[in-house]
Amino acid sequence: MDFKDYYAVLGVSESASPEEIKKSYRKLARKYHPDVSKEDNADEKFKELGEAYEVLKDPEKRTEYDQLRKYGAQADGSFQPPPGWQSESNFGGGGYTDADSRQFSDFFEQMFGGGGQAGGRSAGGGFGRNVRMRGEDVIARLPLFLEEIFNGTEKQVSFTVHEADDHGRIVARQKTLKVKIPAGMREGQHLRLKGQGSPGIGGGDAGDLLIEVELAPHPLFSVEGRDVVLTVPVTPWEAALGATITVPTVGSRVNVKVPKGTSSGRKLRLKGKGLPGKHPGDQIVILQIAIPEQHSAEASKLYEQLAEAEKAFDPRSKLHL
């Protein structure tokens, strides 16, 4: 079993006062709260913080923990509790964090959970046999590629549910489902899979699985609401003279007419080529004039002639030079 250094987790010294511990916990809890933080391991970090605070905020548990820390560390870096170890403080949730011991590590469970007995965790003081409760809803985030949003797809979703085992203890279980995602979902939209969340207790209904759709970045297209945006380079002569060019759409391509005398940044709207749905979005094409890195001698000569012919044009007239 790995030893958990709760002082390091909270970023405080062993001699930190209860006030310092509380302050540090509050600060880090705001930083790593999974609903606030963008860091990949925020969920894990936040659970660790809750666990560390649960122990260090309680003088009795903290004293026990300090003893464990002193006597339990092995030479090889692993950890063994001293022989005959049993915590005096039975953990039952509540307190500042309203901590949920189901989330805590095996280390915590063995040291402080239910008098040092190894094994499953009982929730909030344990359920009676005759309690009937609806299972909790589970929210899972699902990143999708733009193409998958366009066409719909089938995805495997893994998530954790909590359920009671034969002894009425709450245990975590990984669940994996294959889900058909309909076409035209938007980022932030939710799908509901009835009864696929945590099972109910004592014959209560199962909770639902709520899937929140996220959009993975696309190398070409970006999405604004229901519109798909694409930057398309054109040559100076296409921009000046007008042209018909081929541009990609998601999963296909279309011919687009570039109007004569187009400036860089001009937007063209391709009706109905955005996200599909009852009211499909558009594709916005932003034209960008591209210049070859090197011109031939002949081209340079033509540009010189052009400069002469267009002398009157001052693109910087509004800069008050």
Binding site: R26, A29, R30, H33, P34, D35, V36, K38, F46, G50, Y96, T97, D98, G120, R134, E136, D137, I139, E154, Q156, T160, V171, A172, R173, Q174, K175, T176, L177, K178, V179, K180, I181, P182, M185, E187, G188, Q189, H190, L191, R192, L193, K194, Q196, G207, D208, L210, E212, P217, S222, V223, E224, V229, T231, I286, Q288
Partner: protein
């Protein structure tokens, strides 16, 4: 402690079209109706159709997800309702700005290529 399930294929039963009554949203959000009413009064969540009568309110899946989020923030960070309302609004703004920055960065990258 965890065992792997066999993989099931399930159809999506409801997307954003499904709604919950006040009672259902309380049961799923594990909270009292008073809490949901306060969230509505603070503009943190909104019923699909506004109505004076709380019993007639219907909430969509997005509102339920927001209720879950509000409950977590209140529980974990000990926030009061005005703080919760402001935090959720700011979080929405931050999320929208992060998306915008990602979009603009992408466009900038394309212009540089």
């Amino acid at each position: 402690m965890s065992n792997k399930d066999s993989i099931l294929t399930v159809e999506v039963m409801d997307s954003d079209g499904s709604t919950y009554t006040l009672h259902e949203v309380c049961e799923r959000g594990e909270c009292h109706a008073e809490f949901v009413i306060k969230l509505v009064n603070y503009g943190i969540i909104a019923p699909v159709e506004p109505s004076e009568e709380a019993r007639q309110w219907l909430f969509d899946v997005a509102a339920l997800a927001r209720l879950h989020k509000a409950r977590r923030l209140q529980r974990d960070l000990k926030m009061n309702l005005p703080g919760l309302a402001m935090s959720l609004e700011l979080l929405d703004e931050v999320q929208e700005m992060r998306r915008e920055v990602a979009r603009l960065n992408q466009r900038l990258q394309q212009l540089m290529d």
